[in-house]
C-alpha cells in the first residue's frame, strides 16, 4: 500500500487534530482533578496564611525571614512566597529586622532561636511558622 503526497498530508493533519484535541483534554482533565482534589496552590496557601499577618505590621517596616531548612531548595521558595504575600513590606534573608517571620520544623531549634535573638511571639501563623518581634531592652 503506497500513499501519495495529498494522502500523507491528510493523514498527518488528521493525526495532528486528534493529538491536539486529546492532548488538551487530557491535560485539562488532570488540572480539573487537581483543582478539586489536591491541596491548594502554594502561592494561595501563603496568601491565606500571611494575609492576617500583614495587617499586624506597621507601614514601611522591614521583616526578617528565616527557617531551619536552608540547605534545600525550599528555602528560596518559602522566602519569595513570603515576600510575594507581604509586599510592599520588604522581607530580608536575615534575622536582624524588628519583625521576624521564622519557620521551624524542630521545636527545640525554635525555642533556642527565640532565646538567642531575644524575641517575643506576635502571632502563630501555622504549626511551624510564626511572627516575632524583638524584645525592647
Amino acid at each position: 500500500m503506497t500513499f501519495n503526497r495529498p494522502q500523507i498530508l491528510k493523514i498527518v493533519i488528521a493525526i495532528v487534530i486528534l493529538f491536539t484535541i486529546l492532548g488538551s483534554i487530557k491535560k485539562a482533565q488532570k488540572e480539573w482533578k487537581d483543582f478539586n482534589h489536591n491541596e491548594k496552590d502554594i502561592a494561595v496557601q501563603y496568601e491565606e496564611k500571611l494575609g492576617p499577618v500583614k495587617k499586624l505590621l506597621p507601614p514601611g517596616v522591614n521583616i526578617g525571614y528565616t527557617n531551619d531548612d536552608k540547605d534545600s531548595g525550599k528555602f528560596a521558595e518559602s522566602l519569595y512566597l513570603t515576600q510575594y504575600a507581604l509586599s510592599p513590606h520588604k522581607v530580608m534573608n536575615n534575622e536582624m529586622a524588628d519583625f521576624i517571620i521564622a519557620s521551624f520544623t524542630n521545636p527545640a531549634e525554635k525555642v533556642q532561636f527565640i532565646k538567642d535573638n531575644h524575641l517575643s511571639l506576635v502571632k502563630d501563623i501555622d504549626d511551624k511558622m510564626a511572627l516575632y518581634t524583638r524584645k525592647t531592652q
Binding site: R5, I8, V16, T20, K27, A28, W32, F35, S87, K90
Partner: protein
C-alpha cells in the same frame, strides 16, 4: 475600568497599525492580523506610558490615570479623523486576495470540513486547558510570583515609594528584568483600584491567544486558510505552550514579540510598497521584546545583524538603507525607555555583573560545559516538542519547500535570527556563573518556548500552500 484600561491602548494600537498599513476599508481580510498585532502593541505601549507617568509624576495616581486615559482618547480621535479624511485608497493588498480563492477544505468527509471543525475544537480545548490551569494556579508559576507579579505588586502597592521594587536588599529577584509585564499589570490595577488576580490572568490570556491568532491570521493572509489552520493546530498541539501561557511567565509575551517581528518582515516582502511601515512596526515589536525580557536585547542585535547581512547580499545596500531607517525609528523610543530604566536605577544583572575576564575565558574553554549544554538542547527538544520533531519531516515530505521568491529575504532573515538566538542562549549557558545543570534545568525549556511560535511560523511559510491542487497534484 478593567475593560477601559485595555480597550484604550489596544484601540489606539489598532488604529495606528490600520492608518500606517492604509487599507481601503477598516474591516477586511487583514483585520484579524491587525487586531492580534495591536493586542501586543497596545499592552506594550500602555506599559511604556505607565513607566513614563510613574517617573514624571512620582506615582501612578488618579491624576495620572485621568491624564493617561485622556492622552489615549485624543490619540484615538486623531487617528480616526485622519482615517476619515483620507482620500479613498487604491487596493495595494491584492497579493493577499487570491489566497481566499485557492483555499478549500483539505480534510473533508461527506462534505464535512474536518480541518475547520478540528481547528476550532482545538481552540476550545486549549481555552479549557488555560482556564483550568489558571484556576489551579491563580498566581501563576514560580517565575510569575517570584518575579513578574511580585514586581507588579511592589509597583502598585508601594505607590510613591515604587523604587523599593528595585531594591536588591530583600527577597525580590532579578531587579534588572524589564517591566513590560509588571508595568502592564500594575497599570490595570491602577485603573481598577485594587490588585485583583484578574489582571495578570487577562494579560497572560491575551498574549497566549494573540500568539495563536497572529500565527493563524498571518498564515491565512500570506498563504491560505488551510495553511493557517494547520499551522495553528501545530502550535496548539504544544500543550506546554498553553501551560506556560497560563503560568503567567514572560516567555510567552516575549515569543509573541519575536513572532510579530518576523511576521512583519514577511509582510514587508509581500507588500514592498509598504516596506517602510512594516519595518517601523517590526522595529517597535523588537524593541518591546527587550522591554519584556533581557533576551530581547540579544534579539535586537541579532535581528539587526540578520537584516543587514541578508538584505545587503540579496537586495543591495540601497534597499538596506531604505529599510533600516524606519526600523530604527520604531525601535528607538522603546530603546530610550529601556536605557532610562537600566541606567537610572541601581540594578545589576546576575549573568554579567562582577565577572572577571579570566573567569569567562576559563568557562569558554571548558569542553565539558559544551557537552552538557549540547545534550540538554537535544534532551529538552525531544522531551517538550516531540510533536514538532514528528510532524515537521512529514509535512516537508507532503508539501515540499515552496519556491516563492517574494518571501526568500524574510525567511532567510527569520531563520538566521532563530538560529543565532538559540546559539546566543547556548553561549550564555557556557558562561553562566550559576550551577550549569541547575540553570539549564530551570530555563532551557522556556527558552525553546520563546522561539517555538516563530519556528512553526517560518517552517510553514517555507512550505507549499496546503490546498493549492496544482502544487502537489503535479508531483503525484
Amino acid at each position: 475600568m478593567l475593560i477601559l484600561s485595555l480597550i484604550l491602548p489596544i484601540t489606539f494600537a489598532f488604529l495606528l497599525i490600520h492608518l500606517l498599513w492604509a487599507s481601503p476599508q477598516i474591516i477586511n481580510s487583514q483585520t484579524a492580523i491587525k487586531l492580534f498585532l495591536s493586542v501586543g502593541l497596545g499592552l506594550g505601549i500602555s506599559s511604556l506610558s505607565y513607566w513614563v507617568f510613574l517617573n514624571l509624576s512620582g506615582s501612578f495616581n488618579s491624576f495620572s490615570i485621568i491624564l493617561e486615559a485622556a492622552v489615549f482618547m485624543v490619540l484615538i480621535l486623531v487617528c480616526a479623523v485622519i482615517q476619515l479624511k483620507r482620500k479613498p485608497l487604491c487596493n495595494i493588498n491584492e497579493p493577499f486576495q487570491k489566497n481566499e480563492k485557492e483555499s478549500q477544505d483539505i480534510l473533508t468527509w461527506h462534505k464535512i470540513p474536518f480541518l475547520t471543525i478540528g481547528f476550532w475544537t482545538a481552540i476550545l480545548c486549549t481555552v479549557v486547558l488555560f482556564v483550568t490551569r489558571t484556576l489551579n494556579n491563580p498566581h501563576g508559576s514560580w517565575d510569575a510570583w517570584a518575579i513578574w507579579n511580585m514586581r507588579a505588586r511592589f509597583l502598585y502597592r508601594s505607590q510613591e515609594h515604587w523604587i523599593t521594587a528595585f531594591s536588591s536588599m530583600h527577597g525580590c529577584t532579578h531587579t534588572d528584568y524589564p517591566l513590560l509585564i509588571p508595568a502592564a499589570i500594575s497599570r490595570i490595577w491602577g485603573y481598577i483600584g485594587s490588585d485583583t488576580l484578574h489582571a495578570p490572568m487577562i494579560v497572560a490570556f491575551l498574549f497566549t491567544f494573540s500568539t495563536v491568532g497572529l500565527i493563524v491570521s498571518a498564515m491565512i493572509l500570506i498563504k491560505n486558510r488551510n495553511h493557517g489552520y494547520v499551522t495553528g493546530l501545530i502550535l496548539l498541539s504544544l500543550t506546554f505552550f498553553t501551560i506556560h501561557g497560563a503560568g503567567q511567565v514572560a516567555d510567552v509575551p516575549f515569543g509573541f514579540f519575536v513572532l510579530s517581528t518576523m511576521v512583519l518582515f514577511f509582510l514587508k516582502d509581500k507588500l514592498p510598497e509598504k516596506s517602510a511601515v512594516f519595518c517601523f512596526l517590526a522595529g517597535m515589536m523588537a524593541g518591546l521584546s527587550a522591554w519584556t525580557k533581557n533576551e530581547g536585547l540579544l534579539f535586537i542585535i541579532i535581528i539587526l545583524f540578520s537584516h543587514f547581512i541578508v538584505t545587503v547580499f540579496k537586495q543591495g545596500r540601497a534597499s538596506y538603507f531604505k529599510e533600516i531607517r524606519p526600523l530604527f525609528l520604531g525601535l528607538s523610543p522603546v530603546i530610550l525607555i529601556i536605557a532610562h530604566f537600566k541606567m537610572n536605577l541601581d540594578i545589576s544583572n546576575d549573568l554579567v555583573s562582577k565577572r572577571s575576564a579570566e573567569s569567562l575565558v576559563k568557562l569558554l574553554f571548558d569542553p565539558e560545559r559544551y557537552l552538557i549544554v549540547g545534550k540538554s538542547y537535544l534532551y529538552y527538544l525531544n522531551k517538550k516538542f516531540l510533536a514538532i520533531i514528528i510532524t515537521f519531516p512529514l509535512m516537508l515530505i507532503a508539501l515540499k519547500l515552496s519556491g516563492d521568491k517574494n518571501i526568500k529575504v524574510s525567511s532567510t532573515i527569520s531563520a538566521l535570527a532563530i538560529l543565532l538566538l538559540l546559539f546566543g542562549y547556548f553561549m550564555i549557558y557556557i558562561i553562566t556563573p550559576h550551577d550549569l545543570a541547575w540553570h539549564v534545568k530551570t530555563s532551557l525549556s522556556r527558552l525553546y518556548l520563546q522561539v517555538m511560535p516563530s519556528v512553526v511560523f517560518v517552517f510553514f511559510m517555507l512550505l507549499n500552500s496546503i490546498g493549492r491542487q496544482p502544487d502537489y497534484g503535479s508531483r503525484k
